[in-house]
């Protein structure tokens, strides 16, 4: 009944976000690095047209997606650090519910994505990227949806992988998917490899810029890839969390 609803989850969420904002390693990967890379590369290619759109728009989207992947995956991955310090077990002996913890992780991941997007948009605008309000809204929506598999992967890795290896797993997942997805330039323009990379959510994240400049939405193929990845990784995260917090 109501006996279990005393705790105030807002405080937990608030401190989860605060802890992530203080994590300068995360911010350097999710914010500083994409921003620096964007300016370094895009400033000298301002007027280049790539893949049918202006290079700054393409690369703004690609770097927003790349930084967003880091921001989305890291809060979940930090679960393993908390676990290694006994903090996850300590939470088990408070009235805080596991689902509140998970919701807090998801919210934190998404809230960490937002500053990355905002800064990259400002950087893009400063190099001449012009979109109307609806397009900014669309690109943000596509990026947030496309990052869902990364949020789920972070939580799964955080529960499944020991603390000293979670960072490597997160980095491997993000960097490999970002590279293959074309965040640093398209690796494949045709053939079997293109077919394969189109099965990655990172491909569709990077394509979000081109998408909003054109039709405004992913083709069915893109939606299916993002939804299937999310539907596969979410139960994995749920299973990992349940296994990690079960009574022995």
């Amino acid at each position: 009944m109501t006996a279990t609803t005393h705790a105030h989850p807002a405080t937990h969420v608030h401190y989860e976000i605060l802890r992530s904002l203080r994590n300068w390693r995360l911010l350097s990967l999710s914010l500083a690095l994409p921003l620096v890379v964007f300016y370094t590369v895009a400033a000298t290619n301002r007027h280049v047209v790539t893949d049918g759109i202006s290079f700054p728009l393409f690369f703004m989207t690609a770097m927003a997606a790349y930084g967003g992947m880091w921001a989305a995956i890291t809060p979940g991955g930090r679960i393993s650090v908390d676990r290694s310090k006994g903090w996850i077990r300590q939470l088990r002996i408070t009235p805080l519910r596991v689902r509140t913890e998970v919701v807090a992780k998801v919210l934190t991941a998404y809230l960490m994505v937002l500053p990355t997007l905002a800064l990259l948009y400002l950087a893009g605008a400063s190099l001449g990227v012009r979109l109307d309000a609806a397009q900014w809204f669309e690109i943000t929506g596509l990026l947030l949806l496309g990052l869902a598999p990364f949020v789920a992967a972070g939580i799964a890795f955080g529960h499944l992988i020991p603390a000293d290896a979670t960072g490597i797993a997160d980095a491997g997942f993000v960097v490999v998917l970002a590279l293959l997805g074309g965040a640093f330039g398209r690796l494949f323009t045709a053939g079997i490899m293109l077919t394969i990379v189109k099965l990655l959510p990172s491909y569709w994240l990077v394509q979000a810029g081109k998408t909003v400049a054109g039709s405004g939405s992913w083709p069915a193929e893109g939606w299916i890839v993002v939804v299937v990845w999310t539907l596969c990784l979410t139960p994995l995260a749920a299973f990992a969390c349940q296994r990690d917090t079960a009574t022995g």
Partner: protein
Amino acid sequence: MAAQPTQPARAGDLHVMSPAGPARMGIELSRVAKSYGPVRAVCGIDLAVAPGQTVALLGPNGAGKTTTIDMILGLRRPDSGTILVLGASPAEAVRAGRVGGMLQDGSPPDFLKVRELVTLAASYYPHPLGVDDVLRLTGTAALADRWAAKLSGGQAQRVRFAAALVGDPDLLILDEPTAGIDVEGRREFWQALRAIAERGKTIVFATHFLEEADANADRIVLIARGQIVADGPATEIKAKAGSRTIRATLPGAGLAGLRALPGVQSADRHGDAITLSCSDTDAALGALLSSFPGTRDVEVRGASLEEAFLELTGDDNDDRDATGGPPCPGRQESR
């Protein structure tokens, strides 16, 4: 803050009360057993802790203290037996915010300051204490603005203690709260704990230091090999564990006469060798030499408290199973 809506919360509290009512609302373990594969960690423990008591679970490493505590906290499920915590199941008691705990080997999470950590812990509970009050009570007020993850061992333990306490739980469970802390840190920790105990909390802590149990608990429950081997007020256990032995060669002496000597608790003989367990070796030795002039080869085993304790817990025997698990022996009668 007079007649504000505390009513629903009270109803919630009633929800976890047992029909037996508040008189029996401590901890009750009955025939609790737990194995990890072939290793039997806890072999049928019966234990009742009354409200307001401070109880030490004392025992060597691997005795089953942590497993017992984890079961009381609902982190592990017993294979058999029942556990009632404050009249409810361990999980219910935890969910109602009536239990606070400090687990073994924990350290504060990173990127939080001490005050923030205690504030966060308070937010999980229905009726927390004031954060500043708890910081003061646990001697951590001066650390309030430090990073919780970057404290010394003793400081970190007091901060974790503050986090366990701030929810104002009826029951506090602490698993080896002073492990790995220097002497000064320990002293400060126990000082803080005693201040809490005086407020009428039920406290159960595990330790493998006899002195800590003696100085800080009303009652000591001695655990060895997954069983309770002694249970009583600190003074009683101390007298039992603190006994020393006199060994000597004394042919033909009657055990009854030896037992009657002042300071002697029990006497034993193997051939011509006698062994006297003494509460007062000085008195016993004097009486022995004057009553039995034929006594030779006298040896007073100046057993330290720790040694006596190890003897009492049976840990000096070298018959541990090579596969790691001590067998669950039949309960041994003390001689």
